[in-house]
Amino acid sequence: MELGARWPRRPGATLTEARRATNLPDGPDDLDALPRVPAPRPWRWVAGAVGLVLAAQFGHGLVTNPAWEWGTFFDYLLSETVVSAVWVTVQLVLVSGVLGFALGSLIGAMRLSRSRMLRGVAGTYVWALRSVPLMVQLLFWFNLAYLYRRIGLGIPFGPVLVSVDTLHLIGTMAAAVIGLTLHQSAYAAEIIRGGVASVDPGQMAAAEALGIPRLRQWRRILLPQAMRAILPNAVNEIVSLLKSTSLVSVMAIGELFYRVQILYGRNGRVVPLLMVATVWYLALTTVLTLVQHRVERRFAWVGSDGDGRAAA
């Protein structure tokens, strides 16, 4: 109390003193006998309760509101026409995802090149493809045949050796895959560049000093370490790609969203059919998330996140 006694007494000071008094132990032995309880956190309970009530209300509405038309929902959820459309969506994601990341790796490596020209080309590519909305790009590819009637192989600015009709070469599905792939590759390039840049430059210096060949430096030293930064973003991109496939419905490709639109255009049951699409998108995203967890564990080496992760 000596320190406190030096301050002038004010009316408010009594409360502080009262608090301090409750905090004072009666004696050193008593502390061991006292039970320990967690600090009270009433607002957590309030927030939790509010959340639960809202969720319960929503759930109740889902079950009791007849407008959801669950009968119709279940009729279509596993119907052949919907499942085959899901398969088209999955194919679009797989093909443009794989091609997009393959092309993106190349562009990303070019952006990290020591050649200013390669960096410039790759930088322009990323700049252009990230600037144009995916929908606009898709329509461009769809309409390529109007722009260039024939596509030929030959000497640049010189004679053409072989050529084919653009319309025959690029069908709607190919146009969709090309559009999604190019769009994806620009984002993949940035993700890969960022991941590689996150690796300590000392690692590259060590690999250089040891004389490890270039490709092996990438495969054995850089990429395994960059993967930890690349993977979460890459999965994000694939999830985003999954949802972007709904845009190719404008090209009349029978993927999930297009098929659902056709169905409710015919029978007018908009809500349950949208719900069918929603549940499928949820399911596919869940699968991707599970894959992400497995792959991330694969790339977590001992001690890579402080202590815990790899051991868990």
């Binding site: 690692q203 210096a205 250089e208 000093a209 040891l210 004389g211 092996r216 030293i221 370490q225 001690g303």
Partner: protein, 256 residues
């Protein structure tokens, strides 16, 4: 018969970053089996000199010959053609480099760290490389830690693994860039002991260091580098005990 080709011959090396001249004409010659200690204030260019020797930083002017082989260039009639990546990387396998911050590969075990370059760069069969790695680990006093990951080791142990990794290439020259500067004081000696043993066994080496007592013990030549030039060089007893140049005297007075 004496082989007159120096193990290391550095001739008038210059290096600038942006407008700053870090090295301004450095010469250095080592016969086989000799060791040199490079001392000098921070920013004197010690690290840059070592990195210029193995072409991690290509010199702007001047040349480096390791065991008679010109680093980084190939002579073609009246011009020097810069080597392609692959050839330069092969040249570097003849030089071991030990970094201040170890730079072990954190995602590989100790043994994998050591065999990575012999297997990947020289094509040594993995089984042979592993046997050799085990011998090297025993030599640096870490025989039982081959399966550990770098982060499970102390700084001193990591640096000893880094030394074993550099030795795995059977280099003709070893470069140490302040190998104990990132270590806790009580871990310095275990690393210095390993380097002393190597010097005694006749490894040709250049060590940039702040440890003057250590420099005296291992070095045939001590080089005092300041502002990118060799101010003074000589045997340790002369340079450390009876420095001729005023800048050397001033530096030693500050450090001792």
């Amino acid at each position: 018969m004496k082989d007159e080709t120096p193990a290391l011959d550095v001739r008038g090396v210059h290096k600038a970053f942006g407008g700053t001249e870090v090295l301004r004409g450095v010469d250095l010659r080592l016969r086989r089996g000799e060791s040199a200690a490079v001392i000098g204030p921070s920013g004197a260019g010690k690290s840059t000199l070592l990195r210029a020797i193995n072409h991690l930083e290509a010199p702007d002017r001047g040349h480096v010959l390791v065991d008679g082989e010109l680093m980084g260039y190939r002579r073609h009639r009246r011009v020097l053609v810069a080597l392609r990546d692959r050839e330069l990387l092969r040249q570097r396998t003849r030089i071991g480099f030990v970094f201040q911050n170890f730079n072990l590969f954190p995602h590989l075990t100790v043994t994998e760290n050591i065999i990575e370059a012999p297997v990947g760069a020289l094509g040594v069969p993995p089984a042979r490389a592993r046997e050799r790695a085990a011998r090297l680990l025993a030599r640096v006093g870490l025989a039982d830690r081959g399966g550990a990951y770098p982060r499970q080791l102390s700084g001193g142990q990591q640096q000893r693994v880094a030394i074993a990794r550099a030795l795995a290439l059977e280099p003709v020259l070893l470069l140490f860039d302040e190998p104990t500067s990132a270590l806790d004081p009580e871990l310095v000696n275990e690393v210095l002991t390993v380097i002393k043993d190597l010097a005694r066994e006749g490894t040709t080496m250049v060590v940039a260091t702040h440890e003057l007592g250590f420099a005296r013990e291992i070095a045939d030549t001590v080089i005092f580098l300041d502002s990118g030039v060799v101010v003074e060089a000589g045997p340790p007893e002369q340079l450390l005990d009876a420095p001729r140049h005023a800048r050397t005297q001033a530096f030693l007075a500050k450090v001792l």
